[in-house]
């Protein structure tokens, strides 16, 4: 089966790749480009661990064929910190203890970033509902929600 030329912009870097159409975007990011921050959890779209941002929208990258992402702009967890400064959401997860084993954390942070970028004025209940596509087996979610609310407040204050 023919490989397809695919051009992806990932965290601002352009990648011209030849990939098999059956490779998911998640596999392209991890195995082809080597960005292993994005995690594979359930691989059926249920857990949100593989969440990345494509053209401004949070998506489960395990459900996306890499070939269909050609020409698109992708942000992964590796793209959030700039000039050695963590993104406020990353910092908030550290401050509140919003992670334990860390496996779900990149997905939670990317899903949260898309939400905060879209509208940081959500209520706690709205954030809770909007993060329903991300599963964490360690924290019980309380600290995660604290982190997201803290970051949203900080982003509101500085914008």
């Amino acid at each position: 089966m023919a490989k397809h030329p695919v051009s992806l912009t990932v965290n601002g870097d352009e990648h011209d790749l030849l990939i098999e159409p059956r490779k998911t975007l998640l596999a392209v990011l991890r195995d082809t480009i080597g960005l292993t921050g994005t995690k594979e959890g359930c691989s059926t779209g249920d857990c949100g661990a593989c969440t990345v941002i494509v053209d401004g929208k949070a998506v489960t990258s395990c459900m996306v064929l890499g070939v269909t992402a050609s020409g698109k702009e992708i942000t992964t967890i590796e793209g959030l910190a700039s000039e050695g400064e963590l993104h406020p959401i990353q910092q908030a997860f550290i401050d509140t203890g919003g992670y334990q084993c860390g496996f779900c954390t990149p997905g939670f942070i990317m899903a949260s970033k898309a939400l905060v970028d879209e509208n940081p004025d959500r209520t706690e209940e709205e954030f809770r509902h909007a993060l329903g596509g991300n599963i964490c087996r360690c924290t019980g979610y309380t600290k995660i929600l604290e982190a997201v609310l803290q970051a949203a407040e900080e982003i509101r204050a500085t914008s």
Partner: protein
């Protein structure tokens, strides 16, 4: 996942020609197909993406508040569209019930319907909107009313090479509402889905439509219940009769999520409840 040939046609005619080949599958949002391919329940030899075909996505509103929704429109866009929320509320509510935000940013309304799950969350809202489904193939175009599209679980009247291109929702009802009966807040399949839409004129129900999902081999309209309502002034007794008639129209199965008896009972309850919400919206 088995390997396959991948095509990205730029015209509907080319897509239709490719899709008419043996073992071909259309790719819209991928949230059903990619998962199916990983599970080897879908093993297409060719996958035809619709994403490079122009004019298949987007929502346009007509002067009479009828709405046209392209098949490749993401369900998240349907959910957030102010025009859909205001004029076809049951559809916006149904779209908001699918999976998670991450999934709704991928999934398309065309895929949700073409997949033909009796439990699809957008289907009851489209049924009560009386949506017309535009279908294209290399041979030409045709239009099918949404209540004639489905023939069984996963089955539609779509013929080889035919592709859903858009949904046209005519001038809207004055109020509508959708309820998904489920256990989890998000990421759940509907035990059942019920949508009602009503047109009120001087306090009399001029027109009523009730759409039911996951209670029969295909999504259905509860036409006997609708007929009971037409021309009447809404009263609790009338809504009770409509709920019972809708439950009588349902022929659900028992499965691991709940029993047929429970589904039938809930059709009665949720028909009354969605009618109350729809009537409330219609009088606002």
């Amino acid at each position: 996942m088995k390997n396959f040939e991948y095509f990205e046609p730029t015209t509907l005619a080319e897509a239709s020609r490719l899709f008419a080949q043996e073992h071909a599958q259309l790719l819209a949002g991928g949230t059903d197909l990619v998962i199916g391919m990983k599970a080897y329940t879908e093993t297409p030899q060719s996958v035809i993406s619709l994403q490079q075909i122009p004019d298949l996505d987007g929502i346009t509103t007509d002067t009479d508040n009828g709405i046209t929704i392209g098949a490749m429109t993401k369900v998240r866009e349907v959910e957030l569209s102010e025009d859909v929320q205001e004029h076809h509320t049951a559809l916006a509510e149904g779209a908001s019930e699918i999976g998670s935000i991450q999934i709704r940013n991928l999934a398309t309304i065309g895929g949700n319907i073409a997949h033909a799950s009796p439990a699809a969350d957008t289907v009851a809202g489209l049924l009560v909107a009386d949506a017309q489904v535009s279908i294209a193939s290399a041979e030409g175009e045709r239009t099918v009313p949404i209540n004639e599209l489905f023939t069984g679980p996963g089955q539609t009247v779509l013929k080889s090479g035919e592709i859903i291109t858009q949904f046209h929702l005519p001038s809207p009802a004055s109020g509508s509402h959708y309820i998904k009966h489920k256990i989890r807040e998000v990421m759940d399949l509907a035990f059942i889905g019920v949508a009602s839409a009503v047109n009120l004129q001087n306090g009399v129900i001029k027109d009523a439509r009730i759409g039911l999902a996951a209670v029969a081999p295909t999504p259905i309209r509860a036409t006997e219940a609708e007929n009971l309502l037409k021309g009447k002034i809404p009263t609790p007794e009338l809504l009770q009769q409509a709920g019972e008639a809708a439950a009588a129209a349902a022929s659900p199965i028992s499965d691991l999520r709940c029993s047929a008896e429970h589904r039938k009972e809930m059709v009665d309850v949720l028909t009354r409840r969605t009618l109350r919400y729809a009537l409330d919206r219609a009088t606002r």
